[in-house]
């Protein structure tokens, strides 16, 4: 054991008494079980009543070569006694299971933060693989931080010795040893983890026991280390939350549950067509286990077949759903056009990832907005809604089902890699509190000829502009539909100019007139100097940055848009109450374009495409730039995307920053 006292700032983050929030990052080799460790630590955090947000960050390779820099897998959690909206910017504690994990994650660590490192893995071979010339644990290069370095590997082997495992198997419990230490550090109950281990290794009690022994040993070690080093026990008070039943939830789970709930509210069986793709597959996995809710899952031969089968199921009277990520959504484009043309309900979930092409399969981005809104051949309008957080994905999935069924249209639901994988506490909703929107099927002919003969008009629209849903099997309502332009009423093939004009208009009007709730302000006043307008998973960092800016007296508000297409009716008017509009997004400015186009406002862009979520600091700095020269303005630099920052003063030709009256 080599605990080493190091030079550090006057006060480290962990020494500020009882911190409001702490950010811990577990990093190791992809084989080290860091995601599992993080997941269980999350659970224990939630059970302790802290609010939290997590950010799993793992490599695209399933089994990247051991010890390499690109094989590092990390899990970050931000938890505290106040509202937590992001996974946190810089960690206070970094657990590094090998040299590569240290190297990849060190830059993010706060000065004075704590490094916990396993010296057992800092051997010559691993140091070389991580491209370290000397051992950073020994060469003084970590002086900026607190370092707690000891041989976790050896301690784990020692702890599990009584169970007769070989060294290789014994070392698999290293993550539980580490988790035990972390549980001690934050004064957590071990029992839920013990229960979980017993359940997980039901058939192999000796493995369960070994892991429990490792967990306990790690925990016991905390006491020892406290006496001799920088480690200390911290207690973080539970967050004040609304009373009720809570659980943690990831975005992928929330989408799945929301879809099931949506189908139930529509009183329809659900058909889910999917094809394996990162990071969307988890939805297929969850739904495959919910068959008792009338869910049929179909793993198709490709993305196209997945969406086509879902449309086929919708045609036959179920709620068709498909899901994918950017490249797969591109493949589904033509079929979405058919669903638009045949006006059948369909929900398409896009868990966005970095693109174009294969891009960054395991990293997050919001760059499929254009694809969602504009990305089909022909005039093919389709509603698009976006979830802002893992828990919010539940509500948004229900909303997607509602729009699809009530308006007979495909709907795209945007989430992203961050939302899909991240977890947060969720107040379990009461399904009875949602208003059902039962699907209606046409049972008899819906029109009369001049001579009184009853007639079926498959494209006769209701007050919402939706055509009737007609299940094959219904007596007397046989009819044909397809992708060729159809007559406005009969649905028979009709290429005539006036008819195509009328049908194009009708399809557009139907989507334009979808009733979406009015846009509210997530934080701040309804008028002011600056509106920061976000959509999707940027909610957390924007919210925190706006909160901090407002604390500093800046006139800034946070507006977060769920209904990306069509936009809420009042959005233009709301934003016209602000001098400036800033749109941070993890793409090159796609929503900004939509806002400029639809609302004719001078929205400025703050973009980031590094595959990582925005940090609060970046956003604070960007907000500050709009307040240069005003009291309490913190200002600041945004390094990662400095070149992409808008210049607030470059606004209008007359040099004013005010929006001309009457323009919105």
């Amino acid at each position: 054991m080599a605990t080493q006292a190091a030079e550090r700032p006057a006060q480290t983050p962990l020494e500020t008494g009882t911190p409001e929030a702490v950010v811990v990052r577990f990093a190791g080799d992809s084989g080290d079980g860091m995601q599992l460790t993080g997941g269980q630590f999350t659970l224990s955090t939630a059970l302790a009543g802290n609010d939290l947000a997590t950010f799993p960050d793992f490599p695209a390779e399933i089994r990247a070569p051991q010890g390499t820099l690109f094989g590092v897998s990390a899990f970050q959690i931000n938890f505290g006694s106040t509202q937590i909206e992001t996974a946190g910017d810089a960690p206070d504690v970094l657990v590094a299971m090998n040299p590569a994990a240290l190297k990849v994650n060190l830059a993010a660590l706060k000065p004075g933060g704590l490094i916990i490192a396993d010296t057992g893995e800092f051997n010559k071979r691993n140091l070389e693989k991580a491209k370290y010339e000397t051992n950073p644990l020994e060469d003084g290069s970590l002086a900026k931080w607190d370092l707690l370095a000891f041989d976790i590997s050896a301690l784990t082997i020692e702890a599990v010795k009584p169970f007769g495992l070989g060294n290789k198997d014994a070392l698999r419990s290293k993550n539980m040893w580490t988790l035990g230490l972390a549980l001690w550090m934050f004064d957590r109950d071990r029992q839920p983890i013990v229960d979980w281990l017993k359940g997980k290794f039901k058939g192999k009690p000796e493995i369960a026991d070994a892991n429990i022994a490792a967990l306990n040993a790690g925990h016991a070690y905390g006491e020892t280390a406290e006496l001799s080093g920088p480690l200390k026990k911290l207690t973080i008070a539970p967050v004040e939350s609304e009373p009720g039943l809570y659980r943690t939830i990831t975005g992928a789970e929330a989408v799945s549950l929301g879809l099931v709930a949506g189908a139930q509210l529509a009183e329809l069986p659900m058909f889910f067509g999917g094809y394996p793709i990162t990071p969307a597959s988890a939805i297929l996995h969850y739904l495959a286990r919910m068959k008792e809710f009338g869910v049929t899952t179909f793993q198709a031969e490709d993305e196209i077949a997945a969406v086509c089968a879902a449309i086929g199921a919708s045609y036959a009277g179920q709620l068709g759903v498909t899901s994918s990520s950017g490249p797969g959504i591109a493949l589904k484009g033509e079929a979405m056009g058919l669903a638009i043309m045949t006006e059948l309900p369909l929900v398409i979930v896009n868990s966005q990832r970095g693109g174009p092409s294969t891009g960054l399969p395991t990293k997050t981005e919001q760059s499929d907005l254009y694809q969602a809104v504009y990305g089909r051949n022909g005039d093919a309008p389709m509603p698009v809604i976006a979830s802002r957080s893992p828990a919010d994905a539940f509500e948004v999935a229900i909303e997607a089902c509602r729009i699809a069924v009530q308006y007979m249209t495909p709907v795209m639901l945007l989430t992203d890699g961050y939302i899909a994988n991240a977890a947060e506490p969720w107040k379990v909703p009461d399904p009875a509190s949602y208003t059902p929107f039962p699907a209606k099927f046409l049972e008899e002919k819906n029109a009369k000829d001049a001579d009184g003969t009853e007639r079926l008009l498959p494209y006769k629209r209701d007050e919402k502009g939706a055509r009737p849903w007609i299940k094959p099997g219904t007596p007397g309502l046989m009819h044909r539909i397809g992708g060729i332009e159809k007559h406005v009423d009969t649905g028979n093939i009709d290429y005539s100019p006036a008819n195509h004009q009328a049908m194009t208009d009708a399809r557009k009007a139907k989507i334009d007139n979808i009733v979406v709730p009015d846009q509210d302000v997530a934080l701040g006043d309804t008028t002011g100097r600056l509106a920061v307008v976000g959509w999707g998973s940027t909610f957390g960092p924007i919210h925190q940055a706006v909160r901090r800016a407002r604390k500093n007296g800046l006139s800034v508000s946070h507006v977060h848009v769920r209904h990306v297409w069509p936009l809420p009716q009042n959005l233009g008017e709301l934003l016209s109450g602000f001098d400036q509009v800033l749109v941070p997004e993890m793409n090159t400015g796609q929503f900004k374009t939509v806002l400029r186009d639809q609302l004719f406002i001078d929205a400025k862009s703050l973009t980031k495409t590094s595959g990582q979520p925005f940090s609060i600091a970046e956003l604070e700095a960007a907000i500050g730039k709009f307040f240069n020269g005003t009291p309490n303005d913190e200002g600041g630099e945004v390094l990662p995307n400095a070149g992409q920052l808008p210049e607030p003063d470059s606004g209008y030709d007359d040099g004013s920053r005010k929006r001309p009256k009457g323009v919105n």
Binding site: K291, E292, E301, C308, A310, V428, R480
Partner: protein, 344 residues
């Protein structure tokens, strides 16, 4: 295919009010009539019948049937049909595709439909050409086919639809041609089969690929080059003067002469629709030295995809309550109690 109460209908009941828009003289007309003639015979119910198609001349078929119809997108009809059958297995689904739609752009989907064994009928109209796009060569065009896209003749080897189907795992493979009087019998057999029934129908595109099947499918005079297969019957053709024998030395089929109807001594084999090995030989028989093998080449049902899915869905739901509130609250939960300050 589905055990449903037979419905009394006539050919007229199956004609939609839409004007048929194929080229005059197109083989599609004959197939349409054959289907409309077949459906009353099998007691099919228009309201339960769905025609699903992709894109191409053949895929216009659903518009002309007074049934439910879904004209989908190029090549993807198998996927739509799969979704329809999984959502409502009681529907009687006929899929209509062509050589381009089914074997080129949609080859992948067709393969998976057949291997999964979705309970429906697939009619692949093979005219060895792209008609709707004005006459380019197709994946079944013979080498040397001269078209606007192959002015010097095509050079790639054609696909064999029945061999493709059998190789994909189809449990029913049959062949017919547009003007054949036997086509309804083939369709009836396909409909009776539980599972994916694949029927290749040679179809004359009189505009872009006229009469390419005349050697065996001419309305008259080509009968001697047709080997109509019937389960349990000897493989005889040319008015019983020729037959097919299995040569045991080379394990291949051979043409033999049959004298005075004595096919036994000529070694002619009896067709067994369940013999998959012979089926592989039949689909590959080179036309010319051999007659064209027609009728039901192979028919050996296996449990269908949708029955397996339904069974699994039922099993998964057994003893499990579909309680959404419980589902939402699954896993480890914790309760935040109202604090003293909160109003009770």
């Amino acid at each position: 295919m589905n055990d449903m109460t037979p419905i009394q209908t006539t050919l007229k009941d199956w004609e939609s009010d839409q004007e048929v828009r194929w080229c005059p003289g197109c083989g599609d007309y004959a197939i349409l009539k054959a289907v409309q003639r077949t459906l009353p015979q099998i007691g099919a119910d228009p309201k339960n019948t769905v025609f699903v198609s992709g894109i191409g001349c053949s895929s216009r078929f659903p518009y002309y049937m007074e049934t439910y119809g879904f004209h989908t997108i190029h090549g993807r009809a198998p996927a739509f049909a799969t979704g329809i059958k999984l959502a409502n297995p009681d529907l009687d689904v006929w899929m209509v595709t062509g050589d381009g739609d089914g074997l080129s752009i949609g080859g992948n989907h067709l393969m998976h439909l057949l291997r999964r064994n979705v309970n429906l009928q697939v009619m692949l109209f093979n005219n060895e050409i792209y008609g709707l796009t004005k006459g380019q060569y197709s994946p079944t065009s013979r080498i040397g086919t001269t078209t606007p896209s192959t002015p010097m003749g095509s050079v790639d080897r054609p696909a064999n639809p029945c061999a493709f189907a059998l190789g994909s795992g189809a449990r029913f493979v049959a062949r017919g041609f547009d003007v054949s009087k036997n086509l309804p019998d083939v369709l009836i057999a396909a409909h009776r089969h539980q599972g994916a029934a694949f029927i290749e129908i040679f179809q004359n595109c009189i505009v872009y690929n006229k009469d390419v099947f005349n050697d065996f499918a001419a309305p008259k005079g080509a009968e001697d080059r047709q080997l109509w297969l019937t389960d349990g019957e000897p493989m005889l053709y040319a008015g019983g003067t020729k037959g097919i024998k299995l040569d045991l030395d080379t394990l291949s089929l051979q043409v033999v002469d049959v004298v005075d109807g004595d096919w036994q001594s000529a070694g002619v084999i009896v067709h067994n629709v369940k013999n998959r090995a012979i089926a592989h030989m039949l689909v590959e028989l080179p036309f010319g030295p051999f007659p064209m093998a027609l009728g039901v080449l192979y028919d050996d049902p296996r449990p269908t995809f949708e029955s397996a899915v339904i069974e699994q869905n039922a099993k998964a739901s057994e003893g499990r309550e579909a309680n959404l509130a419980k589902l939402l609250a699954k896993g480890q939960t914790w309760t935040v109690a109202p604090s003293a300050a909160d109003p009770v």
